[in-house]
């Protein structure tokens, strides 16, 4: 699903009044989110870029947020729709707290709520233009799932949105296993994010990693990945092939 390449100017030239009441294309978008289960819980990684079409306009967008005590959510796609989803989720958690019955929403419940919300909006031809990753741990049970903007949802040991599906999933299918330690998990996620940084044009080199275990949620401070550009073929690429690059 391609969420980049929109021209805001086109909007006014199209159709009726009714069109201005529903989402036709995204404006400010976030790129891939990658998530894996590991020994103690879930790890999510996402960069902090918000692209406005082909400009990398916002570079401190937090795309990973915690939801209640037991879950974290990562979103790619339209940022304003993600903010709307967070408002709904915060209200949901608030009303749940007000019951004060000792019970709290776990990741499965939140995932189900998100699925219903996304599918319902899609049926009204007014989607929330996001692909979401939802992970959490409750009562020792780890859960990692994803929902797309049309309501396609599933859970797996490792998930990704957008470009992550093409670049990160193959790596995860090869190298993921049960009982990854925290360090191994972070290393694996960084490997995926590095490939995305090299090959996804809307990626920025500033990422956060979120961890959730039975104890709680930690979202790391933003940091950058090391990249390597020192291949000898890059130094003089047209040696012997004048006219190419």
């Amino acid at each position: 699903m391609n969420v980049s390449d929109s021209t805001p100017a086109m909007n006014n030239l199209m159709g009726s009044e009714a069109d201005s009441q529903r989402t036709l294309y995204p404006y400010v978008t976030g790129t891939s989110v990658v998530g894996i289960k590991y020994k103690d819980g879930i790890l999510l990684a996402a960069d902090m870029g918000g692209s406005y079409g082909s400009t990398l306009r916002y570079k401190t967008v937090e795309r990973l947020k915690s939801v209640g005590k037991h879950s974290i959510i990562g979103a790619s796609g339209e940022i304003s729709d993600f903010q709307e989803i967070m408002r709904n989720l915060d209200d949901l958690i608030l009303y749940d707290n007000m019951w004060d019955d000792g019970n709290s929403f776990g990741p499965k419940e939140v995932h189900n709520y998100l699925t219903r919300m996304m599918y319902n909006r899609r049926n009204k031809f007014n989607p929330l233009w996001n692909s979401l990753v939802l992970g959490g741990v409750k009562n020792g049970q780890k859960y990692l799932g994803t929902v797309s903007m049309i309501g396609v949802h599933y859970e797996d040991n490792h998930v990704a949105t957008g470009f992550g599906n093409h670049l990160a999933r193959p790596l995860l299918r090869d190298e993921w296993h049960e009982n990854l330690t925290f360090e191994e998990g972070v290393k694996l996620l960084e490997k995926c994010m590095r490939v995305l940084l090299y090959r996804d044009r809307s990626a920025v080199n500033k990422l956060q990693i979120a961890k959730i275990t039975e104890e709680g949620v930690t979202i790391s401070q933003p940091y950058a990945l090391k990249t390597f550009w020192g291949f000898s073929a890059f130094k003089n690429p047209t040696a012997g092939a004048e006219g190419s690059w």
């Binding site: 470009f163 093409h166 670049l167 990160a168 999933r169 193959p170 790596l171 299918r173 090869d174 490997k191 995926c192 590095r194 490939v195 090299y198 090959r199 291949f231 000898s232 073929a233 890059f234 690429p237 047209t238 040696a239 012997g240 092939a241 190419s244 690059w245």
Partner: protein
């Protein structure tokens, strides 16, 4: 190079004569014939002694697998091979054509072909057809100037790279290369990495599948390892066998003899009308 002048077509470039008629037919509802595409994973990398090329072996026609074990690594010269993705007919024709041109050129100059020669012949042909010849190629070889690896796009642009992937499975293969490639790989490490990248394409991309072909080119030597890996064997075979019994079972027999033909001659005037 006057010998090559004879191979340039008289008018030059793509003939747009039939475009208007084709557009008219499409607007009337004619569906153009679908062509055999090699939804593909092709890769190449440079290791310490030369170049290694790899490819999967699935050729698709829309959603159907037309050929389970086709050859996507084409011969250009004894020291140059080319992997092709895109329309199968286009990759075959264009690599065959440039291979013949290279041979004539070798006779004319008396020297081993260079990779940049093949590169220039391919890119100028593809450019003159403005992208209509849908061939995306990974060209690799070793000549007197050293090992070279190039990618060529259908519109005629080229890249010179230490490692390259093309085709629908290129992202899956590139993920493997970007995380595991380094300079100065040995032959065995290189072959293992190429096989891993092609397997990543085979298992993660629907347009690629079946087996892994590899070609290792070094100075003065090439090894074409056809079906280097067969990771998709046919595992279920029916024990009853797949041949039908030759005989038809006889359920019952009934013989009806033909009756004697008896001629009845009528009394009276025949042929009276």
């Amino acid at each position: 190079m006057s010998e090559l002048a004879g191979t340039i077509p008289g008018k030059g470039g793509f003939s747009f004569d039939l475009c208007r008629r084709n557009d008219m037919l499409v607007s009337k509802g004619l569906k153009p014939p679908s062509f055999l595409k090699t939804g593909t994973t092709i890769v190449g990398l440079i290791f310490q002694d030369g170049v290694i090329l790899g490819a999967d072996t699935r050729a698709t026609e829309g959603p159907i697998v037309a050929d389970k074990n086709c050859e996507k690594i084409h011969y250009m010269a004894p020291n140059i091979y080319c992997c092709g993705a895109g329309t199968a007919a286009d990759t075959e024709a264009v690599t065959d054509m440039v291979s013949s041109q290279l041979k004539l050129h070798r006779y004319h100059t008396g020297r081993e072909s260079r990779v940049v020669t093949a590169l220039t012949l391919l890119k100028s042909h593809l450019f003159s057809y403005q992208g209509h010849v849908s061939a995306a190629l990974v060209l690799g070889g070793v000549d007197v100037t050293g090992p070279h690896l190039h990618t060529i796009y259908p519109h005629g642009s080229t890249d010179t790279l230490p490692f390259a992937t093309m085709g629908s499975g290129s992202l899956a293969a590139m993920a493997i290369f970007e995380s595991k490639y380094r300079e100065g790989l040995t032959r065995d490490e290189g072959v293992k990495l190429v096989a891993e990248a092609i397997c990543s394409g085979i298992f993660n991309d629907l347009g690629s599948g079946s087996n892994v072909d590899i070609c290792v080119i070094t100075k003065g030597k090439q090894e074409y390892l056809r079906n280097y890996l067969l990771p998709n064997p046919r595992t279920y075979v029916s024990e009853k066998g797949y041949t039908f019994s030759k005989k038809t079972e006889v359920l019952f027999t009934k013989i009806t003899p033909l009756r004697e033909l008896v001629e009845v001659i009528e009394a009276g005037d025949a042929m009276e009308e």
